[in-house]
């Protein structure tokens, strides 16, 4: 069974601070996706990384896939209250079609 562990589980910071969320596994994944979920809504895809060592940037968000494709990180620069939400990582396995294994999530609160 593939497992993804996210840390921290909860994070409360002030507007303007930087933060990093980690997603770790002992298993290798074909791809790693990051989702953001707001209360009362389903998760929305932010990014997909598929190559070991890959780095993708989405405005103030930087996503990295580990060289061994077992871990990933999400770094937010100068966080804003609009970044508040639940961040989920999900690993994909080529051998399981489009199946995803989700991490437990990181709940981020950015205070103005």
């Amino acid at each position: 069974t593939q497992l993804l562990e996210q840390s921290p589980q909860f994070l409360s910071i002030q507007e303007g601070e930087n933060l990093t969320v980690y997603c770790n596994s002992s298993s290798v994944f074909s791809s790693l996706q990051w989702y953001r979920q707001e209360p009362g809504e389903g998760p929305v895809l932010l990014v997909t990384v598929v190559t070991g060592g890959e780095v993708k940037k989405l405005k103030r968000l930087t996503f990295q896939f580990g060289d061994a494709r077992k871990d990933s990180s999400l770094h937010i620069t100068a966080a804003q209250p609009g970044d508040t939400g639940l961040y989920l990582c999900a690993g994909g396995d080529n051998n399981a079609g489009n199946m995803l294994t989700f991490g437990g999530g990181t709940r981020l609160m950015v205070k103005p």
Partner: protein, 116 residues
């Protein structure tokens, strides 16, 4: 809109009753997934439909849970003899079939189930 829709948005039921949750995927999406999410937690995979293939039921927690997908479109998740531990948000997602890891899953808003 053209997104994934789920109904009802909220459901309160008594322990022991049966419930049916509905998912309308995005038109043309061949893959459909059901997940369960406990309060503020990650997603637990339940079942996966892909085209006309037999569904992957490996995530269903017990035989009280079943799902079907009629005509390759709408899906219904049924929970029989509900228990309090079944209380959660049930999320449905659909995706177009893309060979390999790049298929994006589009999620509905979920059904919040509370078993009293």
């Amino acid at each position: 809109g053209a997104g994934v829709s789920q109904s009802p948005s909220n459901k309160v039921t008594e322990k022991g009753k049966d419930v049916e949750l509905r998912c309308d995927p995005i038109s043309g999406h061949t893959a459909l997934y059901w997940y369960r999410q406990s309060l503020g937690q990650g997603l637990e995979f339940l079942i996966y439909f892909q085209g006309n293939s037999a569904p992957d039921k490996s995530g269903l927690p017990s035989d009280r849970f079943s799902a079907e997908r009629t005509g390759g479109s709408v899906s219904t998740l049924t929970i029989q003899r509900t228990q309090q531990e079944d209380s959660a948000v049930y999320l449905c997602a659909s995706s177009p079939w893309v060979a390999g890891p790049r298929g994006t899953q589009y999620f509905g808003p979920g059904t919040r189930l509370l078993v009293l």
